[in-house]
């Protein structure tokens, strides 16, 4: 017994070093568990407040860029409105007005809410974005986030009362279901941790023909994103050795370097769909 105490006293610093390293590795590995604990939320709230102070200053200097991107987003929306109106007269007459507009609005299960970006990173292999607005604004875990240009940004992983943390597409654990717009094949979009504007899409069969510039959109198979949001455009395709698949290189539609505004997407049917899935899984067991 005495020898054990002597040993601990003699190698105390080394043991402390090993202990602290193990604590760090535990934090890294059990990221999600840690953040669900109360401490993660407190830290998020504190750093969020400091970040917001800074962002208020920085925001002023980026007003011109922000304006430009909002004008572009508006332009896109106006164009969509025009498309609806350019129908020939006969069709307009044949339709009952109320059914055409009102029922569509009610049928849409997605709600978009604007939020300002308080802090943003692109330089590490695990990037997060912080939004100004948390559970008090109705944001919750699992909601999708898009940029003002309409490109996919990421998914909310954690919220406190006033802030929410978004796991950006530029995170090595990020997995998003994507679809080639032209041919309709679906695959998983991931990031390899190197360039902040290049993503990769896996799980596409060799027989599929892709060309440079083809759009990759969200598939709509998950409850997070509606179908048809632009993820990026095809840059090139490479065969994966010893398999029947190709790997598609994508340039992102969202410019991750200067995101100022973002929109969160709430799917009103999410809980219903997820409950149904859970129910089915329970039955199978």
């Amino acid at each position: 017994m005495r020898n054990i105490f002597l040993f601990i006293r003699r190698y105390f610093n080394f043991l402390l070093f090993i202990f602290l390293q193990m604590v760090c590795v535990y934090f890294i590995v059990s990221y999600s568990k840690f953040h669900e604990a109360a401490f993660g939320k407190t830290a998020n709230q504190i750093t969020g407040k400091i970040n917001k102070r800074y962002s208020n200053i920085q925001y002023y200097f980026n007003l011109r860029k922000t304006n430009d991107s909002l004008v572009k987003a508006n332009e896109r929306l106006y164009n969509q409105l025009r498309l609806d109106r350019q129908r020939s007269d006969s069709i307009q007459l044949a339709q009952i007005d109320s059914l055409f507009t009102d029922s569509l609005v009610q049928a849409s299960s997605f709600v978009f809410r604007g939020a300002r970006v308080v802090s943003n990173a692109v330089s590490t292999p695990n990037n997060f974005i912080v939004l100004d607005g948390g559970s008090a604004k109705g944001f919750h875990k699992g909601m999708g986030v898009i940029s003002a240009e309409g490109g996919v940004v990421g998914i909310i992983t954690e919220t406190s009362t006033d802030f929410s943390v978004v796991m950006s597409l530029l995170h090595k654990d990020s997995r998003i279901s994507g679809k080639i717009f032209k041919t309709g094949e679906t695959g998983t979009v991931t990031w390899d941790g190197e360039q902040p504007n290049v993503l990769y899409m896996n799980g596409i069969a060799k027989s599929v023909k892709v060309a440079k510039g083809d759009s990759i959109i969200t598939s709509g198979f998950s409850t997070t994103f509606p179908k048809g949001l632009l993820i990026g455009r095809v840059e090139g395709a490479y065969a994966v050795p010893n398999t029947n698949f190709i790997k598609i290189k994508i340039t992102t539609h969202t410019n991750f370097y200067n995101i100022q505004h973002a929109y969160t997407i709430e799917n009103k049917n999410a809980t219903a769909v997820n409950e149904l899935l859970k129910h089915v899984q329970k039955q199978l067991q």
Binding site: C24, Y31, K172, G193
Partner: protein
């Protein structure tokens, strides 16, 4: 200014500078500028090793809180805090320099070269351990090494500039009263 306040002041200033200035500079994905560990390099010679380890952990953890993924920088900081005393023993030029001066600097280490070796080795260990932990699942060794070396070079340039802008006057203290 009492020494404790000086260190707390440095701590806050370096973290804020790292988070709000350096993290917003995007040189290249291979070279991320880091400077916050200067706090560990500048701690006094006679600091207790246990205190040193815990302070380093707190420093790394604070930076991690801003990055929203705890563990990475804390691990790297604890690593350099553990290596630091051995390195100082190895590099100190003459007997008793660590009692004559308060903290590591170009003057107290006996010239620019030993100081840069001291800083260079610690920065290299910090970056290597950090990128190794971050890159757990990427298998690209060439990318890892080039990233570590380039980042270390950028950090050393930053440290030199900092030493040049903020020269620390070191009082010569003798232990013979």
């Amino acid at each position: 200014m009492p020494p404790l306040f000086k260190h707390i002041f440095r701590f806050i200033l370096l973290i804020l500078f790292q988070v709000f200035v350096l993290d917003n500079i995007r040189l290249h994905q291979l070279a991320t500028p880091y400077l916050y560990f200067l706090f560990i390099l500048w701690l006094p010679f006679n600091i207790n090793r246990t205190v040193l380890l815990i302070t380093a952990f707190v420093l790394g953890f604070t930076l991690d809180s801003f990055r929203h993924h705890p563990g990475f920088h804390a691990a790297a900081c604890v690593m350099i805090a553990y290596v630091r005393p051995f390195l100082i023993n190895f590099l100190i030029p003459q007997e008793g320099a660590e009692t004559n001066y308060e903290e590591p600097s170009i003057q107290s280490m006996g010239g620019l070269l030993p100081y840069m070796i001291y800083a260079g080795i610690l920065v290299f260990i910090h970056n290597a351990w950090l990128f190794l932990l971050e890159a757990w699942q990427f298998e690209n060794a060439w990318y890892f090494f080039s990233k570590t070396f380039l980042t270390t070079a950028v950090c050393l340039v930053l440290i030199l500039i900092t030493e040049w802008i903020f020269p620390r006057k070191q009082k010569f203290r003798t232990n013979t009263i």
